[in-house]
Symmetry: C2
Subunit: 249 residues, 2 copies
DNA sequence: CCAATATAACGTACGCCGTACAGAGTTTCA
DNA sequence: TGAAACTCTGTACGGCGTACGTTATATTGG
């Protein structure tokens, strides 16, 4: 099962995202707030991963029965919307003189965010959450490339390219870390286990480049640093490519 | 729940991937093969998505009891490994004169594959499957950038950048298509529903660029073509950036 | 030809999940 | 002082992956 963002009633979800729910005038005093539930859910997802995030676990954590959660939040999909928008609130607008430094800041900030909250990478965003932090993120991303002679469409495409890359590179990195955690083996240890089984099946002569390059990459970087290198390499290439576009204007 | 690739016993998984299981010499004749199960699983995932892919459904489809599947495949994680490697078998090696055309072929071929098999994008690859098609893919990707004066590490980084981008862009595209399917609304229809609710919450003056650029992007492209444009835009920028690197050698 | 043995197929059961629904308790307003 | 609005909870349903034990079937060694 995959967790989806953007599933529920848009009106209710937007009200929750922007926090405009008026305090109820009758009935027992609420013990919780949507805010607290979101905080607990994020803490749980950070600590144990998205698979451990169940309504029952959240309720446990808050000392409340599972169904009480539904008093504050329509369902799990909406809760995830709230978690996503709240996480985006940790991002900081770039503050640098050059467009290149600003885009670098955005990419690195995203990269760090995905490492703090790896569950973000497991969420399938069906429609964007449109909460204050998400639209704020988009706004300062566009500001980073404003006034460079790009069309509106190009500005949108450039920020999508950079943020999409940061997400993609972070996914590789987070998956590598998770691989170690789940299997209890480093990449090197895992390879030592697999290699003798693979050798008789796969004739290295059929894959000369893969054998050579794979070995070189494995020896030069251990798996812990390789994703960081890939991120820096890709970011440099992408910014070079954007520079070609901007210079042509 | 997320589907993981690379979970099970590596030896057994590798034997299945490379198809070296010897026919059992005793006992009742097998009614099925691992191959048939993988085919049925892919058909089901193509048609109804990864969420619909359960051992029970696959067994239904094959006219067999759920637990029989475990005779041929150790578990769901291993089955997913087999599905992934089999899907990669649909990719074709590039055959072009320039490195740029070869990398473009690789990116477009990946893009098309992810659209044929969107479930590939939902799988968290903990360790690579190391089946014949996966290692074959890596081999011809490296061949596309061989002999250009790049180091082994650079070759690896370049193909990772291009294929990672194709995956990332395809994810956006597939999610957009899925959004329409799940909600029964086009992007325009969805926006018409959301806008009046959002307007009183979000002051457009606080988000001048986002409002302007978002509107421009929405009007120029409908959601059905926008991801394709983003793919073409990003691919061009990335190849430009790689060109800068190659020219510097 | 007949056990012994290896394999296939199946039924049952466990502990998870999201959440629909109905009811009980609590606070406020007319 | 009801009535209405609201919170909170227990139960239940249908799904999931798969551990385990049993039965049926095909091959093999004696």
């Amino acid at each position: 099962m995959t967790e989806y963002s953007g599933g529920g009633d848009p009106r209710r979800t937007l009200e929750l995202l922007w926090g405009v729910r008026e305090r109820p005038r009758r009935g027992p005093k609420p013990r919780l707030t949507a805010e607290e539930i979101v905080r607990a859910a994020i803490a749980l997802a950070d600590a144990e991963g998205l698979d451990a995030l169940s309504m029952r676990r959240i309720a446990d954590e808050l000392g409340v029965s599972p169904m009480s959660i539904y008093t504050y939040v329509p369902g799990k999909a909406e809760l995830i919307d709230l978690m996503v928008d709240r996480a985006f609130g940790e991002l900081t607008p770039p503050d640098a003189d050059t467009w290149r430094a600003r885009l670098e800041h955005i990419a690195r900030d995203d990269w760090a965010l995905y490492h703090r909250h790896p569950w973000l990478l497991r969420i399938t965003t069906v429609r964007p959450p449109l909460g204050p932090n998400s639209v704020g993120k988009y706004e300062f991303e566009l500001r980073a490339v404003d006034g460079l002679g790009l069309t509106d469409l190009e500005m949108d495409s450039v920020v999508a390219l950079v943020t999409g890359f940061a997400e993609s590179a972070a996914r590789v990195s987070v998956n590598a870390a998770e691989a170690e955690r789940r299997s209890g083996m480093t990449d090197a240890q895992w390879w030592e286990t697999v290699a003798p089984v693979l050798a008789p099946l796969m004739d290295e002569a059929d894959y000369p480049l893969g054998s050579r390059v794979g070995k070189a990459a494995g020896q030069e970087y251990d798996a812990a640093v390789a994703p960081g290198r890939a991120f820096e390499f890709g970011l440099a290439r992408i910014l070079d490519g954007i520079e070609v576009l901007i210079s042509s204007r």
